[in-house]
Amino acid sequence: MPETTVQSMTIAQAINSGYHCAMEADDKIVLLGEDVAEPIGGVFKTTKDLSTKFGTDRVRATPIAEGAIAGSAVGLALGGYRAVAEVMFFDFTTHVMDQILNHAAKFRYMTGGATPTPVLVTTVVGSSHFGAQHAQSVESWFMHTPGINVCFPSTPADAKGLLMTCLESPDPSLLIQHSGLLYSIKEEVPVGPHRVPLGKAKTVRTGDDVTIVSYGPAVRIAMAAAESLAQDGIEADVIDLRSLVPLDFPAVFESVERTGRCVITHEATQFAGPGAEIAARITEDLFSELQGPVLRVGGLFTPQPFAKTLNRHPTSERVVAKVKQLF
């Protein structure tokens, strides 16, 4: 299928489409995870029809054992296959830290290059319906350990494109999906293979007054803030990072050099979160260009509360307020 044929898809559909394309092209791809096979096709429907099409040898509904899901993915990689280890919720990656961060992320280095371990861990975060143990966005744990790519798409096309790129990457990757975005946005996505390079940010809005850096679900917050700021005559560049490792510092620097002001926003806890690295790095490189400090709007320093009236996540109002501090 030529890349030009497109279809309107949600992120869930785009991810599913990405698996179909990738598994057709590469019979070494194997999927492991709880409930990933039919008749369910994944509790988020992202693996729909795959077991029917590719068989339950390649699409395995596993026992509830995230460590072994991840460890098997590592073993499959060492055995010449490429496994996707699906972890139902981001918080459950606590159980894959050993295999992914002590093993997959280090195997290439520890063996002097002899054993690259390209696995893909996928997971979902974003709901507060389940309380504090099904809600933490811990991408910074993975960023902090050298050796693994970290992606967090915010649109259907990027979701498919990053998924397919990760499935061809020579290195391990983590691809995070957000349950609030999975079914809510639709856009035209290539039906055939589609790739988005790692480490290339996307400018989703242009402006010369301030740079708002974001990724994943917070991109919508950033955009809403930008629209609101425009009413007050402040035009924002909004950057969707798409991947955090590698992180497109050149694109961020280019924008901040131009605007002289920057606010970073993400759902992950602000303290010791991804924005801290980005802010520190911008400041290191562009100190004399800055009109004020790089500011952050991240998750509050609390676990996820269950009650809907308690909100720890960024809002466009919080972002607007931070931007205005810079003027």
Binding site: H129, A132, F301, L310
Partner: protein, 340 residues
């Protein structure tokens, strides 16, 4: 699982006890229904995990545990909470995220608890309760208070490492823990036949060096008997027991989930033994309760449920200003980090 004859009543269970057991079975089944209806109507946002199918075990837990016994449960916890005699209002209010809830709306239904009745902890992470129960068992063993610890979880939880590690600890130190495996044959959408080569969970448990027994989880009196023995052993310092209660999940994984994937014949056979109606029949057939007494119980249970949902829906929403409460004992650092 086709034999519907229930074991005889042990003499120590009087009419009040049987009424309590029926109330609990009926109450969880009705609460499941009501919560599902509220969810579908968009009035309830919580993920809710029905108990239906395991009510007999919960009712038996209610009659065999003492207040001093500590309990660790999961997301599928309503029956356990009621067995521990938690007030229904504080449970349903938590479901709605209200300040009147047992966890002040902070935890939600996955994190019910009530320290007054030693409904000690619930976890949303499959298998982790087993490790926590080991620690609670150590605490009981050290204090010598003669209480037991009960931990409940599903069949699917036996696949995860946390389960195994906890089993090792409990067996090694002969901790006073009763391990209640609610084998409803399913872990979300995957059948036990598909996720393990060794579906005889009690047998596997025995290989850790502890007493293990398989029990008909649809038979309330058999459940009472097995639990009584296990709890007595724990309290007497004779070590842990693993109880595999075999029954069947009579609903979807969550209150609103499709479960058309469940084989029709299996489900139909299990439905024949649906705990509350089966127990009702048995109570009547054996002359334990009259139609009138049953009707009274049913009216009371419905009224209590109505009251609890009303209470919850009229509850207070937590306010944003309090969001830092409880991160640490002292909120200061959490607030200062965010400049709040």
């Amino acid at each position: 699982m086709t034999d519907t004859t229930l074991t005889d009543r042990p003499p120590r269970l009087d009419v009040e006890a049987l009424e309590r057991m029926y109330s609990l079975m009926l109450g969880t089944a009705l609460a499941d229904q009501r919560a599902a209806a509220e969810s579908k109507a968009g009035r309830l946002m919580a993920a809710f995990y029905p108990v239906r199918g395991m009510e007999a075990v919960c009712a038996a837990l209610g009659e065999t545990m003492r207040t001093g016994d500590k309990m660790v449960s999961t997301y599928r916890n309503l029956g356990d909470a009621l067995a521990k005699r938690m007030p229904l209002r504080s449970i349903i209010a938590e479901l709605y995220g209200k300040a009147e809830g047992c966890s002040r709306g902070r935890g939600g239904p996955m994190h019910l608890q009530d320290q007054d009745v030693n409904f000690t902890a619930t976890t949303g992470i499959v298998g982790s309760g087993m490790q926590i129960a080991a620690g609670l068992g150590m605490a009981e063993q050290l204090s010598g208070d003669g209480n037991a610890v009960v931990v409940t979880f599903g069949d699917g939880a036996t696949s995860i490492g946390a389960f195994h590690e906890g089993m090792g600890f409990v067996a090694l130190w002969k901790l006073p823990v009763v391990i209640v495996c609610q084998n409803n044959q399913w872990g979300e959408h995957t059948s036990i036949k598909e996720y393990t080569a060794a579906p005889e969970l009690a047998q596997r448990a025995a290989s850790y060096g502890m007493r293990a027994e398989k029990v008909d989880g649809f038979d309330p009196m058999a459940c009472v008997a097995a639990l009584e023995t296990a709890l007595a052993r724990a309290r007497a310092g004779e070590g842990p027991t693993f109880l595999e209660f075999e029954h069947y999940r009579l609903t979807g994984h969550t209150g609103t989930a499709d479960f058309s994937y469940v084989p029709k014949d299996e489900l139909a056979a299990a439905m024949e033994r649906d705990p509350a109606p089966t127990f009702r029949k048995w109570l009547l057939a054996n002359g334990h309760l009259s139609e009138g007494q049953i009707a009274e119980v049913e009216t009371r249970v419905r009224a209590e449920l109505e009251d609890a949902f009303q209470f919850a829906q009229n509850g207070t929403d937590p306010v944003q200003a309090d969001i830092y409460e409880g991160v640490f004992e002292n909120d200061e650092f959490a607030r200062s980090v965010d400049g709040a």
